[in-house]
Symmetry: D2
Subunit: 306 residues, 4 copies
Amino acid sequence: MTTHHFQPTHYHTTIGSHEAVLRLQPGDTVITTTVDARGQDSSGQQITSPGNPMTGPFFIEGAEPGDTLVIHLDKLTPNRPLGWTRRMVAPHVVDPEYTPQLPWPADDAQGLAQWRVDLTNGTVTMVDPPAPLAGLALPVNPMVGCFGVAPARGEAISTATSSHHGGNMDYNGFVAGTTVYFPVLTAGALFHIGDGHAVQGDGEIVGTGVEISFDVEFTVDLRKGWHTRWPRGENSTHIFTVGNARPLDQCVQHATTEMIRWLQNDYGLTGEAAHLLLGQAVQYDMGNIFDPAYTMVCKMAKRWLS
Amino acid sequence: MTTHHFQPTHYHTTIGSHEAVLRLQPGDTVITTTVDARGQDSSGQQITSPGNPMTGPFFIEGAEPGDTLVIHLDKLTPNRPLGWTRRMVAPHVVDPEYTPQLPWPADDAQGLAQWRVDLTNGTVTMVDPPAPLAGLALPVNPMVGCFGVAPARGEAISTATSSHHGGNMDYNGFVAGTTVYFPVLTAGALFHIGDGHAVQGDGEIVGTGVEISFDVEFTVDLRKGWHTRWPRGENSTHIFTVGNARPLDQCVQHATTEMIRWLQNDYGLTGEAAHLLLGQAVQYDMGNIFDPAYTMVCKMAKRWLS
Amino acid sequence: MTTHHFQPTHYHTTIGSHEAVLRLQPGDTVITTTVDARGQDSSGQQITSPGNPMTGPFFIEGAEPGDTLVIHLDKLTPNRPLGWTRRMVAPHVVDPEYTPQLPWPADDAQGLAQWRVDLTNGTVTMVDPPAPLAGLALPVNPMVGCFGVAPARGEAISTATSSHHGGNMDYNGFVAGTTVYFPVLTAGALFHIGDGHAVQGDGEIVGTGVEISFDVEFTVDLRKGWHTRWPRGENSTHIFTVGNARPLDQCVQHATTEMIRWLQNDYGLTGEAAHLLLGQAVQYDMGNIFDPAYTMVCKMAKRWLS
Amino acid sequence: MTTHHFQPTHYHTTIGSHEAVLRLQPGDTVITTTVDARGQDSSGQQITSPGNPMTGPFFIEGAEPGDTLVIHLDKLTPNRPLGWTRRMVAPHVVDPEYTPQLPWPADDAQGLAQWRVDLTNGTVTMVDPPAPLAGLALPVNPMVGCFGVAPARGEAISTATSSHHGGNMDYNGFVAGTTVYFPVLTAGALFHIGDGHAVQGDGEIVGTGVEISFDVEFTVDLRKGWHTRWPRGENSTHIFTVGNARPLDQCVQHATTEMIRWLQNDYGLTGEAAHLLLGQAVQYDMGNIFDPAYTMVCKMAKRWLS
């Protein structure tokens, strides 16, 4: 149960079988930092290439394919006062015939918007808001945009997308206090983390949350022989499963199937009971709908599982 | 501001330009009943053909294409003690390779599950639960599964699906206290309503909520010249827009575009402000993912719109 | 085996249970005309409302749900010298981020292109081509864009879309010499036909073929008790099945399943044989990808079925 | 213009920035071999791990991002007498409710089918056909299932899928005589090739063509500064573009956009002319619909481009 203080010296823009920066025992805690999506650190200085640079990977002793890696998100704290967002929703989230009316150009050509993150007041506010948004103060909700484990077969997958291994899921339920489960796909699991958001709407439809560097604390654990196929998680009220694919219909399929397996294998539900319960009590949350792979989350309240 | 007590004598399983059962003035209130999805009334007797039979249509005086029909859902009250559900999630909401493990047969061949609806306690419980669900008591949440207006061009669209005109959206946010807006597509709007659910999980993934007959009270109004393209709604906390299509990605496109239009046209937001706000504050809820057309809801909290 | 000469006096822009214009015996032939997609007849005069107006419906004596209607497309002949097309591919068939570079406006605001249809030479040429297309002469390939039978349950479905009943499939394989099978969904089948194209690229991606009025001759037949779920067809070289839905993935599912049923039920293939054959010999053609519902065709060469 | 005889000693099941096995000058020809999808060589012996093992990568001198790699497929020759296929279409290409009727188990659990490849007669026949397929002799059509260049950003992408870089596209138009263009995404391009099929139906819907090892001859070239975003190709009659994604709708978008760019940038067509031509003359072919990413090909006949 060691607590490691780790200061990254380099970052990765793929999640893959990169050389581990630290070897952890199940139960260990890591206190570290992440840069923002453009590689800017707590001082606002760009110290690495943009594109969701990852801190890590961390090798977890004893992790083998067929196991599940457990990540407790202990603390997620923006560590500088300013974050930034893009200014236009993705053209693929509006009707194709509407696209000419979007406030083009897309992406960064029109400059990024700056947002002030005030942890004392718990608010996120625009630095230079357009008039109709003067006074807008969103509640801060720090979340991890992109994290996961090295994929199988030696793949190295861009941090711009997501799949079985996790990745850029941009689900605003990945907040401190949440426990996340990743299928171990290669020896040591090789956990990567980065892409913190001070707040983010569902879907990350402008392509960013309020992007910011983080102080991060997480604790790892290992469930030997607990076979999972997609990321899962739980918080004080719900268990949930995560499907990453496109279109969203396929995310729904992955997440729902993973939830059925979980309910039947670990919560003592027969198939009949699992289906009856899901039909009247399932909930779905939307993660990323900006990336090549989208994300949908299937949730079940713990109160129905006792 | 007349209150009409209307007792239906026949029902429709398409939403179309059927002969109106009643002519209403904007401001009028209707107190009526709906049968359940199989055509069973408050006594549990089947009195019409199954398939989401609709009460109505109601002709609203003065409604013309280009206007928007306003429906205040005043009261939605299950009017008998027992509802029913199917027992298996739709094969299209799980992974295709998982389908052999589903508790087939689908649909009604294995019999329907009966649920007791207790309005005093506010609970919905299974009559004959499998052991793992003994003691399960879901909070009652009466909602309208299927309602809408006659489509344009003389179309008559099955109540098994949805589109611009509304229809079988199965969104569990369509509860009493909600105001719903439908684009008027033909003279008189021709409003239909039915398919009440005592409770329903997101997506209606078993193909039913707890299906039950309702006592219904709604008040109509008309917004002349307020042009809408998709159903919209609002409650005490949010405004929302509804996209009906398949795949879900296209629902997202329809609902998001409709929300952008609304924010810009009625809430004084510039395009720039609308996009900045949506990016960090938009929420999505899932309606039906069982039918030929799916439903996705795009929401914005009213607190960000003052 | 009567041959009927039928001159339409009105048209329908939905396919539904409209009053029949003629009652046919199986084996009867009909010689009639169709107007173009905008309601223009052989003289170029607009005589009915636009939107794929249908000639018919024709009631086929003895046709009942569970039967299959057989339509032999005997002759499809453009009956005027000029057709027209739109000028821009649909924004939904290009990448969303590319849409600003399209030659907007979409649809008809920039005027329609006129094309000369020369049956003697067998060519279709632009009347006023832009310079790079001077000399372009496409081979004439007259095909039916939209035809089908009344849907079940009293639905009346817009001729802008397609489903089990057929409709606006825009498959350029629906040419003279082809036999088409439609599932009978209501008594008398109620066959509708219209929307002729002198030529059309795959997908109808500009929203039109070379739209033109037709002289049409077709012969009807009935296969009692031959149960089909989707339109099918055959020509001298292939049998084929048609799936209408969105996304294209779902069209593939419908068409492939229908083909498997056909091979097993009528061609003496076991499941094992059907799958082995399909894997190495199946072909797919694309129909409409412009409408609310897309179309995909699954084909099998007859030479592999003897 | 050197001709290299290259005998592979190891293979890769990702396409990525692996160490080059050979450095080529533009204009060079390579004569080499590929193993089949399970790693079996010309003697039928498994010599490497299964999963579309790739021969290569080949480093092309002077290739830089922004250039396009040209691959002439000179010869593709099955080099052993027996290939193999799976026996069941993928459950995701049939209707979800039909899946219980499939001849499960999927994949390889029921054994592979053996096919005899006779280059003299030009036929592919089953070794042990079920009775209804006795006598079936498909024409041999050797094609490359999986090939492409290293992706950008250090990604290493599984040979089970496809994207901008090419990969497992399974298009039965990738035959000898075809020239294929890949966007160069990293220095040296790093070309990989493998996964030969003696014949394959559209879509590779059983998950395999007739899988077999190949003798391969290809010639590389480089088009400096010719910017492409997706694989392209040409043969004696057509130019074509390839979109890899899911759903198929998105493949259509990628391929159509890439074709529009090509027509406008290299064939002297204005936007107006490109759209008018595509509308009436475009063709689409289907590649892989089995993998995580599907493939659709957009084609234009050269005769319309002179």
